[in-house]
Each structure stands twice: as structure tokens, then as C-alpha cells.
């Protein structure tokens, strides 16, 4: 905020008068005083007492939280009784699209997740010969990543002994057909399979698979962030994690989150819609922390319960993440790694199977080849540990990416 000072109009009039007077003196042309007469007279009649109070500006945002793509209204209120004119402008942040709907009101659309101020309100009040400028930054807005529609089809082979929505291997009282067995006293009549009973001259009943719940732990690697804004590895990881968390929480599963990088953060698995917002809030803080080595030994055991499916979103660019994956496997947890790296060094989109046409490659090409070989070795090492690494391309849906993980024995795909 600046105090009252001479307004732009005052300065322009004074400049015009001064230049005209100097021109009159230098050129000896007395008539040029006429050019100064009007601006000086205008200056003389402008109200000259300086206002005592500075403008009071309040900026309110209609909501402190929203999802990507949702509209939020910013309202600026200016109180300056002495002002002749008040000019209010809104300078949106780089990740926000803004449109003025009324004077002092703007509808903004947050296009990028994160916790940031949606913009700055610039107020300029002119009172007579004076002008005051006030700059007010809007309160930070929490923009949650929008969760893409995903089906919770990927579950551990061994489900928990807790009632849920997933079809387990064990026989229970679910709804999915699991087999047929001879009738024993105590079976319900409605389970009787009439067709088989008539054919085999005995009484047979249907068996149903048990409905079990699953635990999912989403791990975000924020140690390395690379890629263009909006499509960086952390952006992709956050969107994937949000999609998975929403999908599994929707069917009553428990979901937890671990953020590798910065300050190691974690949230124990829990069910319910509220857990989604807790996870989203934790992801918002993933980007702004200082670097420390991820040490999964510091995570309480309750965060990584036995049998939980662990999905790790990572560009696999940091050795600390590989150590963390090894630690997870040593705990006998089924782990899936989703590779979030979509751009090779130099920001060129990844093209699989591309061959170098030059017979003598440049050092940059050689470096790129070595880098690719190193990544291939990492993938092979993880595959040897029983950890599938799935590449999430630009045009691929997360559902399709995860579908290819069912080939590993420790993970099952349920319809």
C-alpha cells in the first residue's frame, strides 16, 4: 500500500505547464505561455487538501477450496469516501483464468491444483490532486486435483477379512457365484440349485464368493519434479492418486497416502469421503517442502498394513525411491509402480522404438541412450523384485494402465 501522492493527472498537468514555460523561456516566444496557462489554471482549481484516511480494501473469495476447473468468485470492496474515482483491477495468477462479471467482482477458474493465491487486486483512488494505490493479494485458495473416473478393479490377491465390495477367493455370503457343493443341513433353501439337483439326483446348493474390502496405499514421489507446468511428474502423480483414492473410497475401501520427498508425510488408511479431502490436503503440501531422504522405517506400521496394495507414482529418477520400493517389497506388500515420466530430457515426448538415423551419434544422443539403458535396467531390477512398472502415456487412461498389472501374481484384477 502506498500513501497519498500527486495523481497522474496532476503530474501530467504540471509536466505540460513546466515544459511550456521552459520552451517559452528558451525560445523567447512569449506566446508559448498560452500552452502553460490552461494546465496551471486546472491545477489551481483541483481540490488540494490531502485526504486523511487511506482507502480500505477488502478482498473476499467465495470459497477457500475447490477442484480444478471449478469457478470461484473474488469480490473486492473498496471504502474511500474522499475518492472522486476508484479504479479496481484484478491481476490473476498464472494458473487462473479470470473474467469480470461485475465491477469489483471476478469469476476465476483455477486450472491447476495447488495452494496459491488466485491473484492480486489493484485499487487506485483519485481524490482531487491526490492519488493512492493499494495492492491486496487474495487469500490462498486450495485447489484439489480433479479425480478422473476410475474403477477400483485392482486389488491384492489376498483380501482382508472385512466386508467390502471386492469379490474374494474365499466362499462367503456375497453375490458372485463361486461354485456348487452338496447340500448339508443348515443350508438355506434359496441356495438350492434345482437344475443340478435334478440332473444329479441329489441336493446341491450354490456357493457364493465372499465380498471383501481392500486396503490401498498411494505413494507419491515428489523428490523429483520434471516436465512442463500442468503435466509435470508431480501433477500426473497427484491426479492419479486422486483418481485411485476416490475410486476405492467410493466402494468402501480404506485408502492411505505416503508422500516421499520434502518432509516425509503419511496418512493411515481410512474409509469415507472425508478421507479423500484429507489425502488431497496432504498432496497440496507435497510441492513446497525442503528435501530430506525418504526413510520408510519412520512410517508407523499402521500406515502400511499387511496385505495393502501399494501403488507408487514416480518418475523413477531418484535412487531414494528405489530404496523405498525395496523396503516395501521386503515388507511383503504388493507394489505397483506407475511411471509418471512422459518427457525425456530435452522435453521431447517419448517415442518408443525410435531409431537413430545417424551413424555416428552425437554425445547428446549417447547420453540419452545411456539414460534410457539406465532406466531399462531400473525397470528390470524392479521386475525381478516382482514390482510391475507401468508407463502412463499422455493419451492413456489410468484404468487401462493398471489393467496390465494383473499379470503379476500378487495382484488380482476384479471386474
Amino acid at each position: 500500500m502506498t500513501g497519498w501522492r500527486a495523481s497522474a493527472r496532476t503530474r501530467q498537468l504540471a509536466t505540460a505547464a513546466l515544459v511550456a514555460l521552459i520552451a517559452a523561456i528558451v525560445s523567447g516566444h512569449g506566446g508559448l505561455v498560452l500552452l502553460a496557462a490552461a494546465p496551471l489554471a486546472a491545477l489551481a482549481v483541483l481540490p488540494r487538501p490531502r485526504p486523511l484516511e487511506l482507502p480500505l480494501v477488502t478482498v473476499a473469495v467465495s470459497g477457500a477450496r475447490c477442484f480444478e476447473g471449478e469457478d470461484v468468485t473474488v469480490i473486492a470492496t473498496v471504502s474511500c469516501p474522499a475518492a472522486d474515482t476508484t479504479d479496481i483491477r484484478f491481476v490473476p495468477a498464472a494458473t487462473v483464468a479470470a473474467a469480470e462479471i461485475l465491477p469489483g467482482q471476478w469469476r476465476i477458474n483455477a486450472t491447476h491444483w495447488g495452494r496459491y493465491s488466485p491473484g492480486t487486486v489493484l485499487v487506485s483512488c483519485v481524490a482531487g490532486a491526490w492519488q493512492a494505490a493499494v495492492v491486496v493479494e487474495a487469500e490462498p485458495l486450495e485447489v484439489f486435483p480433479r479425480a478422473a473416473r476410475t474403477r477400483p478393479r485392482l486389488v491384492p490377491a489376498e483380501l482382508l477379512r472385512r466386508i467390502g465390495e471386492h469379490t474374494g477367493r474365499a466362499v462367503g455370503d456375497g453375490v458372485e457365484f463361486a461354485g456348487i457343493r452338496p447340500y448339508v443341513p443348515g443350508d438355506q433353501l434359496r441356495d438350492l440349485n434345482r437344475a443340478v439337483s435334478i440332473r444329479r439326483q441329489g441336493r446341491y446348493v450354490n456357493q457364493r464368493a465372499a465380498s471383501r474390502a481392500a486396503d490401498l496405499v498411494v505413494v507419491l514421489d515428489s523428490l523429483t519434479e520434471t516436465g512442463p507446468p500442468g503435466e509435470s511428474t508431480l501433477d500426473i502423480a497427484a491426479h492419479g492418486a486422486a483418481a485411485l483414492a476416490a475410486a476405492y473410497l467410493r466402494v468402501g475401501d480404506r485408502v492411505g497416502v505416503v508422500v516421499l520427498g520434502g518432509v516425509l508425510r503419511w496418512l493411515g488408511p481410512a474409509p469415507g469421503d472425508r478421507q479423500f479431502y484429507r489425502i488431497a490436503e496432504m498432496m497440496l503440501r507435497a510441492r513446497y517442502d525442503a528435501y530430506v531422504d525418504p526413510d520408510l522405517a519412520r512410517i508407523p506400521r499402521i500406515v502400511l498394513p499387511p496385505g495393502a496394495l501399494v501403488v507408487l507414482f514416480s518418475p523413477l529418477a531418484d535412487a531414494g525411491v528405489l530404496a523405498a520400493i525395496t523396503d516395501l517389497r521386503q515388507r511383503r506388500l504388493p507394489v505397483i509402480v506407475v511411471d509418471t515420466l512422459r518427457y525425456e530430457p530435452g522435453l521431447a515426448p517419448i517415442r518408443r522404438g525410435r531409431r537413430s538415423s545417424a551413424l555416428s551419434p552425437s554425445p547428446a544422443d549417447l547420453a540419452l541412450r545411456v539414460w534410457r539403458l539406465d532406466r531399462a535396467a531400473t525397470r528390470a531390477r524392479l521386475a525381478a523384485m516382482g514390482v510391475p512398472v507401468l508407463h502412463w502415456g499422455r493419451d492413456a487412461e489410468l484404468d487401462g494402465v493398471l489393467a496390465s498389472a494383473a499379470s503379476a501374481g500378487r495382484i488380482a484384477m476384479r471386474s
Partner: protein, 142 residues
């Protein structure tokens, strides 16, 4: 006044301010006027380019200094400058405009009656102008 009309008024007045003096000035002043016209165009759409208004006005005054303009032309130019500055600040105040007209008429009358015959009179007029400037311009913060 809506924004389109405001921009149009700025453009019209600004081009008149820089376009009038070259009509009675040497040909090379057209270059100065052209520079002023560029400043007018730059200042028309954006309130933040306040300096461009001063540049345009300065170019017009410099052109006038090298011209053979008579008192009526200079009086009209002074009024145009005042109107242009007022329109550029998005406030078309009536009182400054009336005061400008009155002051221009007084000075024009004085120049017509006494066409610079006395150096003392010129000095007194200049001192009065400087005093008026000192009184009119707000000086710093209290």
C-alpha cells in the same frame, strides 16, 4: 463514458494535440509530431501508460516552440492539451476545463494588448506563472 468512447476520445484529442502544430511549423517537425502520435496511440488503450501522455504533450509543445503559430492557434493548442490530459485520466472534470478556458482567455488578451513590449512585464508574467505553479502543484508528503 464507456471504454470504447473513452479510447476514441483519447485518440482523437491526442492526435489533434500533436497534429495541429506541424501545420504552422517547419517540415522537419512532422517527425516530432509522428513520435508524439506514437505516444498517443500507446497511451490510448491502457491507463498504465501515463508517461506516454506526457511524451505526447511534450512533443506537441516542442513542435509549437519551433512553429510560427499565432496566439489563436496556441490558445487552441493549450485547451486541447488540457482536454487531452483530463480525458486521459478518465475524469472529464468541468471545473478545471472552465478554469483553463478563463486563464487562456486572460493570457491571450494580455498578449494581444501588450505584445511583449516590455522585458519587465515579461519577467513579471513569468514570475507569476512560476508562483502559480508552486502554489498549484502539491509538494510531497506532509
Amino acid at each position: 463514458m464507456n471504454r470504447a468512447r473513452l479510447v476514441a476520445a483519447r485518440l482523437l484529442l491526442g492526435l489533434l494535440v500533436v497534429g495541429l502544430p506541424p501545420a504552422v511549423a517547419p517540415a522537419w517537425t512532422i517527425a516530432v509530431a509522428g513520435f508524439g502520435a506514437l505516444a498517443v496511440v500507446a497511451a490510448a488503450p491502457a491507463e498504465r501508460r501515463r508517461y506516454a501522455v506526457s511524451i505526447a504533450v511534450g512533443a506537441a509543445i516542442v513542435t509549437c516552440a519551433f512553429s510560427h503559430a499565432g496566439i489563436p492557434v496556441l490558445a487552441a493548442e493549450g485547451m486541447l492539451i488540457l482536454a487531452y490530459v483530463l480525458v486521459s485520466s478518465a475524469v472529464l472534470a468541468v471545473r478545471p476545463l472552465i478554469a483553463g478556458v478563463v486563464a487562456t482567455l486572460i493570457v491571450a488578451g494580455a498578449l494581444t494588448v501588450h505584445p511583449g513590449a516590455s522585458a519587465w512585464l515579461s519577467g513579471a508574467g513569468l514570475a507569476a506563472a512560476v508562483a502559480a505553479f508552486a502554489v498549484a502543484v502539491p509538494m510531497g508528503r506532509r
